[in-house]
């Protein structure tokens, strides 16, 4: 019997909030299957199972904040029968108002939820739970306290215990706000709440422009921003306190690379076109593979090489803050896949939906502040990593080639590296390798 626990998504994380379950008791999961969505100060993160097994019970309900290591769910022992699905049904809003239904105690596991309901003047018997087994969460109470935007669907069938379309997990509700999905227009799934996956599917399929973000999402976002600011403060202060940085700089001529890219893009539909950042990332990944001393972690006074080049991409978020999710095995991917990987993590980082592994295991990070117009960036290493690569803005400058002066698109590549792990010689070789790769773009 093993447990599914709140994972640590970085050295700076002490606790997290369970936002949504992606499994239910009785589900068979394999190692790597997504189990739940967890909210951290950085982002909402999809967390996968670390083991094969059958989910026995979900211990923590959505909306609950727990410390790292706390048990979130239990697995049945191998070969054991899964726990029978919970037979308990929650009465629908309609049924709850009838005398017979009131006899059934509302499923509320947290005294906090009861207190909140009391304060908000919400009758718990009338609330539809979205937590485990229909348990009522704080978010449900908050939702019930606010006047409903639309009257409850008149065709709800109480006898079957089906909920109306308003049954939505708190995370899905927030995501809908951020992605501009109208929850009332989503089809109500059978016997389960509307989940984030439904919202994302609707957002992906929708051709409508997203409307402005609703006001309700604002406080949560402000909280997240503040928390993210604190996290960045802690991690960066630790980096500067503990890591003896050294910095190297190399100006790289991108004429060949960009010429090749434009030629390639000419024949391709927009969706398959490359941007210069994809070439820079791939070149950095290859250089990291060739210089393994820069690709890994400094832990317990020694360097531990990364298993593969997992390239962190620094993504600035609209409204402040940044995250650096990883593109896994970036040195092994072809350029099209690096480009797709970059678009994917940037989009999901900005929508607040990343996966655990992406956040916790980059082996080296690249920042491309050049997009904002600066010429170079001397970065602060994200511990326990030992190197951070920066690319400045691509600018046309006079540049001597073969004894002649020409105008060339140039970028300044920088390396900030941990002097405990490597010396400047290795760092210099790394930047030279980035340059070399960019001179043969067709081999990237």
């Amino acid at each position: 019997m093993s447990d599914f626990t709140m994972p640590s998504l970085g050295a700076d994380m002490d606790e997290g909030t369970l936002l949504e379950w992606l499994v239910k008791p009785g589900d068979t999961v394999q190692k790597g299957d997504l189990m739940a969505v967890v909210d951290t100060s950085k982002a909402a993160v999809e967390v996968e199972s670390f083991t094969d097994g059958v989910v026995e019970s979900l211990v923590v309900e959505p909306g609950t904040r727990v410390p790292v290591g706390a048990v979130l769910a239990t697995f049945a022992a191998a070969g054991a029968e899964p726990a029978p699905p919970e037979p308990r049904k929650r009465p629908s809003r309609h049924a709850a108002k009838m005398p017979v239904a009131i006899a059934e105690e509302p499923l509320v596991s947290s005294p906090l939820v009861r207190r909140e309901a009391e304060r908000a003047g919400v009758d718990l018997a009338t609330v539809t739970g979205t937590g485990r087994g229909g348990a009522i969460t704080r978010a449900d109470v908050a939702h019930a306290a606010a006047p409903p935007a639309v009257p409850a669907a008149p065709h709800a069938r109480p006898s079957e215990g089906r909920r109306g379309p308003a049954r939505v997990t708190p995370y899905a509700r927030r995501l809908a706000g951020e992605l501009g999905v109208d929850l009332d227009r989503l089809p109500a799934p059978e016997r389960r709440p509307v989940r984030a996956t439904d919202v994302r599917a609707a957002a992906a399929g929708s051709e409508r422009p997203a409307p402005e973000r609703p006001e309700v999402a604002a406080p949560a976002q402000a909280d997240r921003r503040e928390e993210m600011r604190r996290t960045i403060a802690t991690v960066m202060a630790r980096s500067k306190r503990e890591i003896p940085h050294y910095y190297l700089t190399l100006t790289i001529d991108l004429d060949r690379a960009l010429r090749w890219m434009r030629e390639r893009n000419r024949d391709l539909p927009v969706a398959q076109r490359l941007v210069p950042a994809a070439l820079l990332l791939k070149a950095a990944a290859l250089a990291a593979a060739a210089n393994p001393g820069l690709n890994g972690f400094w832990v317990d006074d020694e360097f531990r090489p990364g298993s593969g080049v997992h390239l962190g991409v620094a993504v600035s978020l609209r409204g402040g803050g940044l995250v650096a999710p990883a593109i896994h095995d970036a040195d092994q991917l072809d350029l099209t896949d690096v480009m797709a990987g970059m678009r994917d993590v940037v989009t999901r980082a900005r929508a607040g939906r990343l996966r655990r592994a992406e956040l916790s295991d980059p082996t080296i990070t690249v920042t491309n502040l050049g997009e904002q117009g600066v010429e170079s960036v001397h970065g602060v290493i994200y511990p326990p990593q030992v190197a951070l690569v920066g690319f400045g803005r691509v600018t046309e400058r006079p540049w001597a080639v073969d004894g002649l002066l020409g105008v060339r698109p140039l970028t300044v590549a920088t390396l900030a590296a941990d002097h405990r792990a490597t010396d400047g010689f290795t760092g210099g070789r790394f930047l030279a390798a980035v340059d070399e790769r960019l001179q043969s773009p067709e081999e990237l």
Binding site: P209, P211, R213, V270, A271, V275, A277, R343, T347
Partner: protein, 84 residues
């Protein structure tokens, strides 16, 4: 999919607005105005801009090559490009 050569100014404006709002849902396009540089004002990075071009191309049916990107600098130039 409408023929891009038959787009009116209003239809072009609508398409550009929709594509931008998809990338930056809370963008204040009135603030940017017709002559504000879209990439700078809305802080679009290269991926955002690619997404914008993709949307615009899909919704209007216009073929937009990389060499055309400079023509998409402002709302006014976008409309001129789409109704050319």
């Amino acid at each position: 999919m409408p023929d891009p050569t038959t787009l009116t100014d209003d239809q072009a404006r609508e398409a550009v607005t929709a594509a931008l709002l998809r990338i930056v849902p809370d963008a204040d396009l009135d603030e940017v105005g017709d002559d504000g540089a879209l990439r700078a004002e809305l802080e679009l990075d290269s991926l955002d801009f690619l997404g914008f071009v993709e949307q615009l191309s899909a919704s209007t049916g216009a073929r937009i090559d990389e060499d055309d990107y400079p023509a998409l600098r402002t709302m006014r130039s976008c409309i001129a490009f789409l109704t050319r």
